[in-house]
Symmetry: C2
Subunit: 327 residues, 2 copies
C-alpha cells in the first residue's frame, strides 16, 4: 500500500507518528511519502529555516520537544542569547542550538547548489525516518498575511506568515493570505510521481489554508491528486468543536471566507478533492452536512493525546478510504 500524506507542522507530524505506528502493526510493507509545506520557511540570521519539514522530521525521528510540539527535546538557546547580546534581529523567533545545526547544514547545502529536496533527503538520513519526506517544491514559496496597518500606504500591510503567527500571535485579523511564488513553483522531484502512484492520499489535521492549502496551490499537485482516480482522498478535520485543536486556522479561514467548523473545512476542500472526511465526535452533527456536500463522513475521536490515539485516527482514516474505494 502506497500512502501519500500532505503535511503542515505539528498536527501532521503527530498524525504521521500515529500512522506509522499503526502501519508497523497492521501493514508493515506500506510505503509512506510525505509532501511537506515549505511556504512557512524563512531565513533568519542567514539560516534557512523550514519549520514544517523540521517538525515532521524531528517528530518522526524521535527528536521533538514533546510538550511544545516543535523544536528539539532538551534544547538550549546559547546562540540566540548571544545573538540578542549583539542586538541581532529578529528576536521573536526562538532558534535553539540543536535546531541551528539543522539550519546550518541546510543553508550550507543550499549555498552549494543542492535543491531543498536533496537537502531534506540528506538531513533525513540522520533521523532514520520511517517515511519519505519531500518538500512540496524546491522553489521558494512564501506565505504572507495581509493585516490592517493604519500607518501603511492603503492602510494594509503584508507580513511573512512567521511574523503573523510567532511575533503577532495571529492577533490582528487576517485580511488575506497570499502564497507568494506558489503559482510559479513546480512540485519537487517525486511529488507528482508519488501522487500518481498512491493507493491512498491523506490530509492530516493540518491548517487547510496556510499548510495544505498552500501545497495545493503549487500547479500540478491538485491536478495529480484529481488524476489518480484509484486513490481515495481522506482528510481529518483540524477543527474540533468550532475551534482549531492548535494554531490559528480560525484566523486564516476567516480570510478565505470560511467558518471555523469541521463541515465548512470539508466544503473548503470540496468534493472534487475529498472523498472522505473525519470529524470529531463532538462534531457528529456535521456528518450529515458533509455527506450532503458529496463527501463520505464519519465522527471519531480526533484528539491526538498520545501516539495510540493518533494511530487509531490513522486506522479510521484508512478504514474510511477503504470504504470509499469500495464505493
Amino acid at each position: 500500500m502506497r500512502i501519500v500524506v500532505l503535511a503542515g507542522g505539528i498536527g501532521a507530524a503527530r498524525f504521521l507518528r500515529g500512522l506509522t505506528s499503526h502501519l508497523a502493526a497492521a501493514a508493515p510493507g506500506a510505503d509512506v511519502t510525505v509532501i511537506g509545506n515549505t511556504a512557512d520557511d524563512t531565513t533568519l540570521f542567514g539560516l534557512r529555516v523550514c519549520p514544517d519539514l523540521d517538525t515532521v522530521m524531528y517528530t518522526l525521528g524521535g527528536g521533538i520537544d514533546e510538550e511544545q510540539g516543535w523544536g528539539r527535546a532538551g534544547e538550549t538557546f546559547a546562540v540566540q542569547e548571544e545573538l540578542a547580546a549583539y542586538g541581532a534581529q529578529p528576536q521573536w523567533f526562538a532558534l535553539g542550538d540543536r535546531d541551528i545545526a539543522t539550519h546550518l547544514v541546510r543553508t550550507q547545502m543550499l549555498a552549494a547548489g543542492f535543491p531543498l529536496s536533496k537537502v531534506t533527503e540528506a538531513l533525513s538520513v540522520r533521523w532514520h525516518l520511517p517515511i519519505r519526506l519531500l518538500p512540496m517544491s524546491d522553489e521558494r514559496v512564501e506565505t504572507h498575511v495581509v493585516i490592517e496597518d493604519a500607518e501603511a500606504a492603503g492602510g494594509r500591510r503584508a507580513i511573512h506568515f512567521q511574523e503573523y503567527w510567532v511575533r503577532l500571535h495571529a492577533e490582528p485579523p487576517a485580511l488575506a493570505v497570499i502564497p507568494i511564488g506558489a503559482e510559479d513553483a513546480k512540485p519537487a522531484p517525486g511529488v507528482v510521481e508519488a501522487l500518481e502512484a498512491a493507493d491512498v492520499i491523506l490530509f492530516p489535521p493540518s491548517n487547510p489554508v496556510v499548510s495544505l492549502g498552500t501545497i495545493l496551490h503549487v500547479p500540478g499537485i491538485r491536478e495529480a491528486i484529481s488524476a489518480n482516480e484509484r486513490a481515495p482522498v481522506v482528510g481529518l478535520s483540524p477543527i474540533v468543536g468550532g475551534a482549531p485543536v492548535r494554531g490559528m486556522a480560525d484566523k486564516v479561514l476567516a480570510a478565505v471566507g470560511t467558518d471555523p467548523t469541521a463541515a465548512a473545512v470539508a466544503r473548503f476542500y470540496g468534493p472534487d478533492l475529498l472523498d472522505g472526511w473525519l470529524v470529531d465526535e463532538v462534531d457528529a452533527d456535521a456528518v450529515a452536512e458533509v455527506e450532503a456536500a458529496g463527501i463520505r463522513c464519519r465522527a471519531v475521536p480526533l484528539l491526538m493525546r498520545d501516539v495510540p490515539a493518533a494511530a487509531r485516527m490513522a486506522a479510521e482514516a484508512l478504514a474510511l478510504a477503504a470504504e470509499v474505494r469500495r464505493g
Copy 2:
C-alpha cells in the same frame, strides 16, 4: 599618545589587555589601534570565522575562556554535537555555541555586502573595547602551510593554516608558509592612516611568521611603518628560552629558515623594521647579539602569567620606545 599594535591571537590579546590596563593608569588619554591578522580566517559550515580578531575581541571584552586563551567563557557545544550527528565535516575545529553567534552575525553582514572592517566594528560595539580593532585587510588572505604528503603529486600538499595547527597540531614539518592573496590585498580602511599617525608601534609576542609576518606581507603596511620616522617600533619576543611561549612559532620559523630564538626573531624582522626588542630574562645573553644587529634590546620578564605581568611588559615596551625615540 597614539599607539598602534599589530596582533595575532592569544599572545597579542593578553599583551593588549596588559597594555590597556597600564594605559588606564599611566596615560588615560592614550589611543590604541589594533591591526589584526586575518590570514588564519576560515569558513566552517558556511560561517566565516576570524580566530585572531575574535580572540582579541573576547579577551579585551571580558568574554574569553581564560584557561585556554581562545573561545568564550562558559562555552557550550550543542550546535557542534548536532553537526557531528548529521555527519557534517570538519569536526576537528570546535565551534562553541556562543562563538557561533559571532560568526552568524559576521557571515550575515558579509553576505549583505559589508566589508570585514565594518563587520568588526559592529561586533566590537557589543564588547565595549578599550581599543579600535581593525582587520589588516578587507580582502581574503589565507595562510597555507606546505607539508610532506607521499600520496600527493610532487610529494607535498598545501593545507589551510587551521588544518595544520588545529587538526595536525603542527606535527608535520612546515616546508613553506604561503600567505595566499596577501600580495594582492589592500590594507583595510584606517590601517595605513593609523600607522602614519602613530607615536609608537608595538609588535606583541605574536607568531612572527603566520601572524605579524602575514600582516607585514600586505602591501602598504610595512611601507607605512617605515615611512613613519617619528614612531619607534618595539617588539616583544614570542620565543622564551628557545621555545615559543605557546603556539607553533618554532615550526613555521623553520619554514622560513629562522632559528627559534629570541635573537633570531629580532633579526627576522630586522633593523629596518624594529627599533627596539624585548627578550625574556632567561634570554639575557641575546641582548648583545640583537644590539649588534642594530636593534636596541632589553631583557625583562616576558611571561604573561596575569594582567599585571602583561601590564609590566607593556610598560617596558613603552619605556624602550621612549628610550629609542630620545636616541
